[in-house]
Amino acid sequence: MSNRATNLLVPIVSVILGLLVGAVIMLASGYNPLEGYAALWNGIFGDMYTIGETIRQITPYLLAGLAVAFAFRSGLFNIGVEGQLIVGWFAAAYVGVAVELPKIIHLPLAIIAAAVAGALWGFVPGLLKAKFHVHEVIVTIMMNYIALHVTNALIRTVSDGGDRTESIFASASLRSEFLENLTEFSRLHLGIVIALLMVGVMWFILEKTTLGFELKAVGFNQNASQYAGMNVNKNIILAMVISGAFAGLGGAMEALGTFEYVSSKGGFTGIGFDGIAVALLGMNTPLGVIFGATLFGSLKYGALNMPNAAGIPIEIVEIVIAVIIFFVASGYIIRLLLLRASAKKKEAK
């Protein structure tokens, strides 16, 4: 079996194993797994509406995954995607409600505001890492909490003591009548185009530009990069800024597409943390992120239909997701087993 084939097979085998484990648990607790998975399937692909919503759910995961992956490729662990996404969400919504402009200006402006806000939130840990060697993991964790409280306070101010902003002007919205009509009024919005574009952007930066070359070099070996004349500090900051911008865009998807407003949050959205899983499921590559986000988004969204259609607790899907991640992570052992299996086959022939 070729290397490529096994690489492709690992995630597939993992998904199958994950679903098997889920089935066993369902059986053990008295549910019918076939019914459960039928509900899951319908929850993902049931009709145009669910398909639209599934894609909508995938959209922010794509960007959160890109954010984590991009930082990872530069040797940085950005646990702060959550916070960067939250500030991006706020910034986009704020621009969306504060002014009314022609769409051609308003929408890009709101999107850029989100990216800038996220970038700023990534800049702080990047700067501290570069200048003071402060570990980015702690700073980003702290920045998450700061983002949560600060945006909540800002929402209060903006909404005159309320708990959410007005809905954004249509001129800043990512919603598209065409997509909505296509998908029986799902909230599928144009954000998916932006997200996929960003996948391309990340691929381009990493694989085609000198910047990407430097970021990867710094990610692997700072000493050698410095000896080769690269500005290590600049690259660290840049990596965090770009990563933060991706995350901020993830927030824009929520602000301008899914919700069209921002409301006070009692806790984290979870998208940022799930981004870690998405990125790593995809081996931190742009194409991998598409796979990770699709898997994650579909399962998470489809899960909603399990209590709905089969009366099975939603947590079962979370367990399945965890198990899949576990097996993808353990790809080495699966690859080994696959190789053995194919070797045996050859022998038999």
Binding site: Y49, E53, R56, Q57, H149, N152, A153, R156, G161, G162, D163, R164, S167, F185, R187, E254, T258, F259, E260, Y261, S263, S264, K265, G266, G267, T269, G270, K300, Y301, A303, L304, N305, P307, N308, G311, I314
Partner: protein
């Protein structure tokens, strides 16, 4: 939600005569991330839905009554949509967070009847339900001011959002109505799920001399109870009390043979849910209206103190209650 659970139809849910008489009406609700057993408004709403279902011989599931839990804010939309597609006659969105989703779905599904709790959505097919939390909290303030020995009282809030601020405003007003000199120490912890902050905050307040704390902080309030119970255990004679919120939190206050729950400010989400369901079944769904429940219609109130508040104090509280109902006292929604 109230301690007085009227389990009238135990054992009748699973068919039998109930089915024959079953009304041709169905009702469902979408919870926020807290779920139907959050010991708070989601739970209360679900209890209302269940009670309505039982009273009308409905079964859980399609054509009867049901709920869907949301895993994140993004799921409200989908869940509402799912229930409407399953042809429930009335669908409830529980909590202010669902405002946007309800507005959107109401527009997309003009045939559907949707009710939202704790927020106002202006659409012809949406009934909005609000509560005068401030009136319930007012009575709690009265009770606290009458019961305090140290003349110091605490208020622990979760996030600074309008609902919680109504609790705060009413509470402060109630205290002041009894005794202007009683100090109220107000602190917002910024979260509904940080019990350790609730505990530390309560610790500070009790240490500074407060003897009663009213919390409107969800899970953060758990910490307030823990702190109170520990103090009570350490010194059974200590005058330490907590006033619960949303549902009767008597159980939370139990420690050994003692109980630190003075009373709780009830929010009758269950009653509202039943009310609206009944109206809808009768063909009078109050679409486009905003219904506000206050002391007058028992939408808010105090839970049974189980003797913690003596008779004479109760009488005074009743007196204030009457004044509020009669409109002699208007409780503000916001702290001045």
């Amino acid at each position: 939600a109230c301690g007085s659970e009227e389990d009238t139809s135990t054992g009748e849910t699973g068919g039998g005569e109930g089915t024959e008489e079953a009304a041709d009406f169905s009702v469902a609700m979408v919870t926020d991330v807290g779920g139907v057993d959050d010991k708070s408004f989601n739970q209360s709403a679900w209890e209302g839905v269940q009670q309505f279902g039982e009273e009308n011989g409905l079964e859980k599931g399609d054509g009867g009554f049901d709920y869907l839990q949301s895993a994140s804010d993004a799921d409200y939309n989908t869940n509402l949509n799912n229930l409407i597609r399953r042809d429930f006659d009335v669908v409830f969105g529980i909590g202010y967070l669902m405002e946007g989703a309800v507005a959107e779905i109401a527009e997309q599904q003009p045939e559907a009847q949707i009710a939202i709790i704790d927020a106002v959505v202006e659409a012809p097919n949406v009934a909005s339900v609000l509560f005068k939390e401030q009136e319930g909290a007012f009575l709690a303030g009265v009770a606290a001011a009458l019961m305090t020995e140290t003349k110091k009282i605490g208020f622990v809030g979760g996030m600074e959002i309008p609902v919680i601020e109504r609790f705060e405003a009413g509470f402060l007003e109630g205290v002041a109505a009894v005794d202007e000199t009683v100090e109220v120490d107000v602190q917002y912890t910024g979260a509904f799920d940080k019990a350790e902050l609730g505990k530390t905050t309560a610790n500070r307040m009790y240490s500074a001399g407060a003897d009663i704390i009213f919390h409107a902080a969800g899970g953060t309030g758990n910490g307030v109870f823990t702190e109170a119970k520990e103090r009570k255990e350490a010194d059974p004679d200590a005058n330490i009390w907590v006033i619960g919120v949303d549902a009767d939190q008597y159980d939370e206050g139990q420690t050994g043979d003692a109980n630190v729950t003075l009373t709780s400010v009830l929010k009758g989400v269950d009653k509202a849910v039943i009310n609206i369901s009944e109206q809808a079944m009768a063909g009078d769904f109050p679409g486009g209206e905003t219904i506000t429940y206050g002391l007058a219609d028992d939408g808010v109130g105090l839970a049974d103190s189980r003797g913690a508040i003596p008779e004479d104090v109760m009488t005074k509280i009743e007196d204030f209650k009457k004044q509020v109902i009669d409109g002699e006292i208007t409780v503000p929604e916001k702290v001045e």
